[in-house]
């Protein structure tokens, strides 16, 4: 019986990471309709900064955490003030802005590679690898941490968007920019908050995943693909559904890898494609 449990917990753990990335992606998508193709690279920056803090400088995890958060705030600023705002001011189409995010992703990858080297780096786990037993299944502390932090973040962000005035204002901006302006909401301040939140969530994603897959400037794509898949499966209109989408993908990958190995990824993406065709709004369309 512990095989099922073991596969399940593995799926939940990887799925939580996918969900976290979907969350970061959907925060920006839902507040601006921008499809952020630099999403994976933002996570990559988080992972590389984790390596930079822990291995390059042997800082503590706490200092490294603040380095990651700090760099993500800088990236959010660049995203808004160097990419989105100037393009919007020029009256650029959404298409140009999305292409701009692809360019930003490339700049981030190449920039990181230029600065820290283009290698594959290893990053030590946050907690030593002593497995924790839960009944007759076991889990590595790092994976437990991934699950706990991912879900805490989703819950905090839900709380922020639904129970704080700032969060409600940010949602108001995403629902109707003009309506928000009429209500006196400072659009650009709100977007800054949205971009920062998304970048910080991405950075934490990078911090969590670095000890699992390592850090390299070209990590972004493979991470983003699963994050997008999770977002599409859950429903693009619902910020939190990406988490459910991620868990479903994680668990399906885990079980398919066991029962139909070699086809696990193909099956997962077939499910996603099927979903796009049959129910493009995803499993959990937006509540209204």
């Amino acid at each position: 019986m512990d095989v099922y449990g073991q596969l399940l917990i593995a799926g939940i753990s990887t799925g939580s990471i996918y969900g976290l990335i979907a969350l970061a992606f959907l925060i920006i998508y839902n507040s601006t309709q921008i499809v952020n193709f630099a999403q994976g690279e933002m996570v990559m920056v988080g992972a590389m900064m984790t390596f930079f803090g822990l291995s390059f400088h042997s800082f503590s995890y706490l200092s490294t955490f603040f380095i990651v958060i700090g760099s993500m705030i800088v990236i959010a600023f660049i995203f808004q003030h160097v990419l989105v705002k100037p393009l919007q001011k020029q009256g650029a189409s959404m298409f140009s802005i999305i292409i701009g995010t692809i360019a930003l992703g490339i700049v981030l990858s190449e920039g990181m590679g230029l600065w820290l080297g283009k290698q594959q780096y290893g990053v030590p786990p946050i907690i030593p690898n002593n497995p924790i037993s839960l009944g007759n299944i076991t889990i590595l502390p790092q994976n437990l941490l991934i699950i706990i932090i991912s879900w805490s973040l989703v819950i905090s962000i839900w709380y922020f968007f639904n129970r704080t005035m700032t969060g409600l204002s940010l949602r108001a901006v995403s629902i109707s920019t003009e309506g928000a302006q009429v209500s006196g909401i400072k659009i650009s301040r709100m977007l800054a908050i949205g971009f920062t939140l998304s970048a910080v969530v991405s950075g934490i994603g990078g911090l969590l995943i670095a000890p699992v897959v390592g850090a390299s400037p070209y990590l972004g794509l493979s991470i983003a693909v699963k994050g997008f898949a999770a977002a599409i499966l859950g429903g693009m209109g619902n910020i939190y559904a990406g988490m459910i989408g991620g868990i479903i993908i994680g668990i399906s990958e885990s079980f398919f890898s066991f029962y139909i190995p070699s086809y696990a990824e193909a099956i997962t993406f077939t499910i996603m494609l099927f979903m796009l065709v049959v129910k493009p709004t995803g499993l959990f369309p937006e509540h209204s």
Binding site: M165, T166, S176, E178, Q181, V182, G184, R189, E286
Partner: protein, 255 residues
């Protein structure tokens, strides 16, 4: 004078949507802006409230020029507007819709709200009380926890008005607030406007419904093809030949 518009011009390419328009709004009064479809009323609103940059002219709010300032700055100075189309926040309750607008004065501090500071909790409680008061004032208290798609169109219109009330603005610009309302809803709206005026606020309103206008307002400004063709009391406007001609040319008097 609360609001003075002087020589305001707005062009879209070759089209002059608003041409050298000047008029004023007195404190405590309801002023109407009328004119046929396409006359430039909405464009004028957009220029005054900071959504468009006019090409020429001045807009003085309490004697200071507000041209070039962003909408949220102008709002903080006491000028708020509603849109011709309803812009409720779908997915948020009516109470939250109003609270969001009332939030404009509470700092909108991201860090504070993330850290769940007690001061935030307190100010949010105050916001909620204020929003509830506004809903009571608008007879919407019973729908406070409903979502926009669960209430009537007339109620949605009132929610839009509730939002501008919540901003504490002194001058409210309303773009066709009665559009699409049935007779009884229109009556309610007229009463509501009077109540709002009683609280000391001033209103500039665009409206096609002449009966509504004549009953409610103290002054009328008439636009045609982007130009001001008349300004005066309802009585004066009713008998103004230019106005009659403009409306006859446009088809019906309540165009």
């Amino acid at each position: 004078m609360l609001l003075e518009v002087k020589g305001l011009t707005k062009r879209f390419g070759g089209l002059v949507a608003v041409n050298q328009v000047g008029f004023s709004v007195e404190e405590g009064k309801i002023t109407a802006l009328i004119g046929p479809n396409g006359a430039g009323k909405t464009t004028l609103f957009n220029c005054i409230s900071g959504f468009y940059q006019p090409n020429e002219g001045e807009v003085l709010l309490n004697n200071s020029n507000i041209i070039g300032q962003p909408a949220h700055k102008i709002l903080q100075k006491g000028l708020a507007r509603t849109f011709q189309l309803v812009r409720n926040f779908e997915g948020m309750t009516i109470l939250e819709n109003i609270m969001t607008a009332a939030h404009v004065h509470s700092g909108q501090n991201f860090l504070n709200s993330l850290l769940f500071l007690p001061s935030v909790k307190k100010s949010e409680k105050e916001l909620k009380e204020k929003a509830n008061d506004i809903l009571k004032f608008l007879n919407l208290a019973h729908v406070a926890d409903k979502y926009p798609n669960e209430i009537s169109y007339g109620q949605k219109r009132l929610v839009e008005i509730g939002k501008v009330l919540a901003t504490d603005a002194k001058l409210l610009l309303m773009d066709e607030p009665a559009a699409g309302l049935n007779d009884s809803e229109t009556r309610t709206l007229v009463d509501t406007m009077r109540e709002i005026q009683k609280t000391g606020k001033s209103i500039l309103i665009v409206e096609h419904n002449m009966k509504f206008i004549m009953e409610l307002v103290q002054k009328i400004v008439v636009l045609d093809f982007g130009q001001k063709i008349a300004e005066g009391t309802p009585e004066e406007i009713r008998n103004n030949e230019k106005v009659i001609k403009a409306y006859l040319g446009g088809g019906k008097v309540n165009a």
